[in-house]
């Protein structure tokens, strides 16, 4: 009964929201033309309010920027996700003790009752497949696979004991980006654009760039879940047309296009008046956005006008779909006020079952292609003062085992590690984050976190915190209860904050 009441209350609230929207549409704009031309709600006079009600801008433009509830430290986020889960033991988590156990059988006490994606029976241990040095003034450990990253190690805060409860790619990615291992929740970027809107009128607020392939969990990773669909991420291709079908077809002038969109919007608006479905408004503003994006997206997605040495610094590969290109694009977008840029780089699933998956081969190519662009991105953001107000997050959906994978009980012919959710490394850099800092530690073989363990929800809480949200207050009512990104968990990782 209670649930029913809640649902009715939610519905009433929704209706009230629609009503205020209706009021704005009817009374505060120039009518249809007003809609088509974007938010003109300010022709409406409301003099009784003392302070300006910033939320009213949302009535017409669901992407209107809103101030953060609390003092934000950053205004943009660049999230670098290494799809497939890179091995922390070959990159940042230096475990000399593990070398001594190399190729010796794993003690059974370690794996008793544990579930793995592929390991069966008793695997052998696998020593670090990299040499490590202490880099920068912080003397933090970095593997020789990342020579360029050593130059920026003093900019980042490592989280060495992140844990997740998912050990398969899809669910783990969903958990990382939507707060739940099941489908249906809004993604991190959607929550953020829902909460803060987008500053640049001509660019999407939430852009997704992929390289190497699509992540296992697919487009749900940048889906809007139960939020209005305007808040979903816009997936831009870094090769060919950035956004498909954005170019005008041959023989169609921009003027004609404008007229077409205006007419479509008018029809849509009639539809909206009839059914009051806010998704129609979303559709109208998406048409407008697409129209404006026709000019601005090709411009911002064009990396050719960058000076050569900048392109060389990133290691850009012209006309190809490359992580390096995406890193440069990420900087360009943040510079132009894009709120959330999500990069997915596919190919880090180093099981050792094939050459591209081997720590001794494919993994090294991935490291080479990731190292320079990431270092370049941090330096480039820094020299433009953008790192002061941008948060850069690097990580995978989980980590990898200190054991040599033995698929079906037989040690893989190539060197590789299985999935591990218990402990892995991520890092953050940028505004409000400590520089050259390490939080958390794993045991001698990197199997479990023994200090400063942080969960996926803690990471999300921290990202929201830096953007000026209290993750416990930032909710959206759906199906009779308020939902939040961090569900019922999450703690801001204050240890790494300045």
């Amino acid at each position: 009964m209670d649930n029913l009441k809640k649902l009715i209350a939610e519905n009433k609230e929704l209706e009230a929201q629609l009503n205020s929207r209706r009021h704005f549409l009817k009374d505060c704009t120039l009518g249809l033309g007003g809609i088509a031309l974007g938010s003109l709600l300010n022709s409406c006079n409301f003099d009784q309010q003392k302070a300006y009600d910033y939320t009213s801008a949302r009535a017409l433009n669901p992407m209107a920027p809103l101030p953060s509830p609390l003092s934000p430290k950053v205004k943009s986020v660049i999230y670098l996700h290494m799809v497939g889960a890179p091995s922390q033991l070959e990159l940042f988590d230096y475990k000399p003790e593990l070398a001594k156990l190399h190729n010796k059988p794993c003690p059974e006490s370690l794996i008793e009752g544990k579930e793995f994606a592929f390991i069966e029976g008793v695997p052998n241990m696998l020593g670090p497949q990299a040499t490590f040095t202490q880099a920068g003034e912080s003397r933090n450990w970095v593997s020789n696979h990342l020579p360029h990253f050593k130059k920026v190690v003093d900019e980042v805060s490592f989280l060495k004991a992140v844990h997740t409860d998912q050990f398969n790619h899809g669910p783990a990615q969903l958990l990382m980006f939507t707060g739940s291992a099941r489908f249906g929740r809004p993604s991190l970027g959607s929550w953020i654009t829902y909460g803060l809107g987008s500053e640049n009128n001509n660019l999407p607020g939430f852009v997704v760039l992929t390289s190497g392939g699509t992540p296992d969990a697919g487009k749900s990773l940048w889906g809007n879940g139960f939020l209005p669909s305007i808040y979903q991420g816009v997936h831009c291709r870094s090769k060919g047309d950035p956004v498909l079908y954005l170019k005008d077809p041959e023989g169609v002038s921009r003027d004609l296009k404008r007229k077409v969109i205006q007419s479509i919007n008018e029809i849509n608006y009639k539809e909206y008046q009839k059914f009051k479905d806010p998704e129609v408004l979303t559709r109208i503003s998406q048409y407008e956005m697409a129209y404006r994006m026709q000019v601005s997206v090709p411009e911002v997605m064009d990396i050719n006008d960058e000076p050569d040495y900048i392109k060389e610094m990133y290691g850009v590969q012209p006309e190809k779909e490359a992580f390096a290109n995406n890193c440069l694009l990420a900087r360009k977008m943040v510079e132009k006020g894009v709120r959330f840029v999500q990069l997915y780089d596919w190919g880090w699933d180093s099981h050792g079952a094939s050459e591209s998956e081997a720590l001794s081969k494919g993994f090294l190519n991935k490291c080479r292609d990731m190292d320079r662009p990431v270092a370049a991105l941090l330096l480039d953001l820094k020299q433009r003062g953008l790192l002061e107000e941008t948060l850069v997050v690097w990580g995978g959906e989980f980590g990898r085992t200190p054991m040599w994978e033995n698929r079906a009980g037989i040690q893989n012919s190539l060197i590789g590690r299985d999935h591990q959710g218990e402990a892995f490394t991520m890092w953050m850099a940028g505004g409000g984050v400590k520089k050259g800092y390490v939080h958390g530690a794993t045991d001698e073989i990197g199997f479990r976190g023994i200090d400063g363990r942080v969960s996926v929800h803690d990471i999300q809480a921290t990202i929201l915190h830096l953007l000026g949200f209290d993750h416990e207050q930032f909710t959206y009512d759906f199906q009779g209860r308020p939902f939040r990104l961090t569900d019922v968990e999450g703690r801001v990782i204050h240890e790494i904050l300045t």
Binding site: N42, Y52, D53, P147, K151, N202, P307, Y309, K361, R368
Partner: protein, 461 residues
């Protein structure tokens, strides 16, 4: 029966206001007797109702005292004064009658003493419900500064530096208890016979014995009660009161599991940082100054938004504003007059990608509270930049990808609060053009970073 008595008792706060009102009405009439013809009759009528409602007030009050766990010491004053008020009203009533011995007393005796007794009764009653210092609380700060009295503080005072030496009990447990529990469990109001105002009382427990079980901590009454679902009757704090947060429940549970130590410090106990963290006060480094300003004129804001300017407070509750011309690439110097009226509110201005030129510096000098100025991707050369030394709060200056001329940069050393200047130019090496003083070296970020080629860049595995 019990519950009916409790029910009636709870009407006391309502019923008492009847005799109070009647007595005040009687007083008004008493002092304006000459204005009415039959004032004596009306007065008697009112006093009759005072007596009737007074009796009910006292009865319901007594029931409330019996049913709700108030201490006799704390209610006795209110009780006796209440009865006194009733007796005085009765006396006044009789006085107004024909011939009584009471006529020997002056008439003003009744009216004045009744008023005084009413005021004191009411005050003591208020103290019982709202707490002893309820009335004077708002003045406490004033009086303590006036008289130099230091209040005993029971609020959280932990920070990054001092937390390890604090005792677990006084440092964290006491503030939680005084905030959420002590208002009902104190020497004045002792629900369930339990007092939580100090350690001894806490250990002693309530009418059902100790609330801390030192042998089986997780069976302690306190532990169980805070963990019960909110809907349960025995859940504490009661559903209607302010609830413990998850962090508070976790911490109290941890403390009970340790055996409720009193004097050990957090360091001695080796309490994990994650448990303590929610209770630490974090000194926030302020980027924007703390200035008290009225809300900006909403008409100006609406006009700016209508012109596609991005204007917003620095956070939702703030009156400090930041503005950006990101969506108005044609923004020119002369449009700066749109900002008249909010000069003081603006703490950050982003004119990147706009069409402003060097005379913008003089215009920007009129904004006294600017902390951040961004002129990236504009035509400015830096001529006239010295005007910005008037901006006493200016901390960050962005001049990335401009026409900036190195010779003007020496002026930056005159800026009082300047902390960072971003001046990267991708098409030239500005740092080679100028000599810098040591001070400027620390604040100017030229960038010009490079990642030299390494042999490993070319290896294909």
């Amino acid at each position: 029966m019990e519950s009916i008595l409790t029910f009636i008792g709870r009407f006391h706060p309502l019923i008492v206001h009847l005799p109070i009102g009647f007595i005040l009405l009687a007083q008004l009439l008493e002092f304006n007797r000459s204005k009415f013809k039959e004032s004596e009759k009306i007065l008697k009528f009112i006093l009759y109702w005072v007596l009737l409602s007074g009796v009910f007030s006292i009865l319901s009050g007594y029931l409330q005292y019996q049913q709700e766990g108030y201490l006799w010491e704390s209610v006795q004053g209110h009780f006796y004064l209440g009865i006194l008020t009733l007796i005085l009203s009765m006396g006044f009533y009789i006085f107004l009658g024909k011939k009584t011995i009471l006529k020997r007393l002056p008439r003003s005796f009744f009216s004045i003493s009744l008023l005084i007794s009413l005021i004191f009764t009411g005050h003591l009653g208020g103290n019982i419900t709202h707490g002893e210092d309820h009335l004077t609380e708002p003045l406490a700060e004033v009086s303590s500064t006036l008289f130099g009295i230091e209040n005993e503080t029971k609020t959280l005072q932990l920070n990054e530096k001092n937390y390890s030496e604090q005792s677990i009990y006084t440092g964290i447990v006491v503030p939680i208890l005084s905030n959420k529990c002590v208002s009902c469990h104190n020497p004045k109001k002792t629900k369930g016979g339990l007092k939580l105002h100090n350690y001894e009382a806490l250990v002693q427990g309530g009418k059902n014995g100790s609330i801390i079980n030192f042998d089986k901590p997780e069976q302690s009454e306190l532990f169980l009660r805070i963990h019960l679902p909110v809907e349960e009757k025995k859940h504490m704090p009661p559903k209607s009161k302010k609830q413990l947060t998850k962090a508070e429940i976790d911490f109290i549970s941890y403390w009970i599991e340790l055996g409720a130590p009193q004097n050990q410090t957090l360091e001695q106990l080796g309490t994990s940082r994650a448990l303590i963290d929610p209770f630490l006060s974090k000194e926030e480094e302020r980027f924007y100054p703390k200035i008290a300003l009225d809300a900006p004129d909403s008409k100006i804001l609406r006009d700016l938004i209508a012109k596609d300017l991005l204007i917003a407070p620095v956070s939702r509750e703030s009156n400090l504003l930041k503005i950006s011309t990101l969506n108005v690439p044609k923004f020119e110097n002369k449009q700066m007059e749109l900002l008249n009226g909010i000069q003081e509110h603006l703490v950050s201005i982003d004119l990147s990608y706009s069409a402003v030129n060097d005379s913008i510096f003089d215009l920007l000098a009129e904004f006294p509270n600017l902390v951040q100025i961004k002129l990236n991707h504009t035509q400015v050369t830096g001529k006239g930049i010295l005007a910005l030394q008037k901006n006493k709060n200016l901390k960050q200056l962005y001049l990335v990808e401009t026409e900036i001329n190195g010779i003007y940069l020496k002026h930056l050393s005159n800026f009082p609060s300047l902390e960072q200047v971003f001046i990267f130019q991708s098409k030239r090496n500005l740092s080679r053009e100028i000599e810098l003083t040591p001070k400027l070296k620390t604040i100017i970020e030229f960038g010009e970073y490079d990642l030299p080629k390494l042999p490993s860049d070319e290896v294909i595995y």
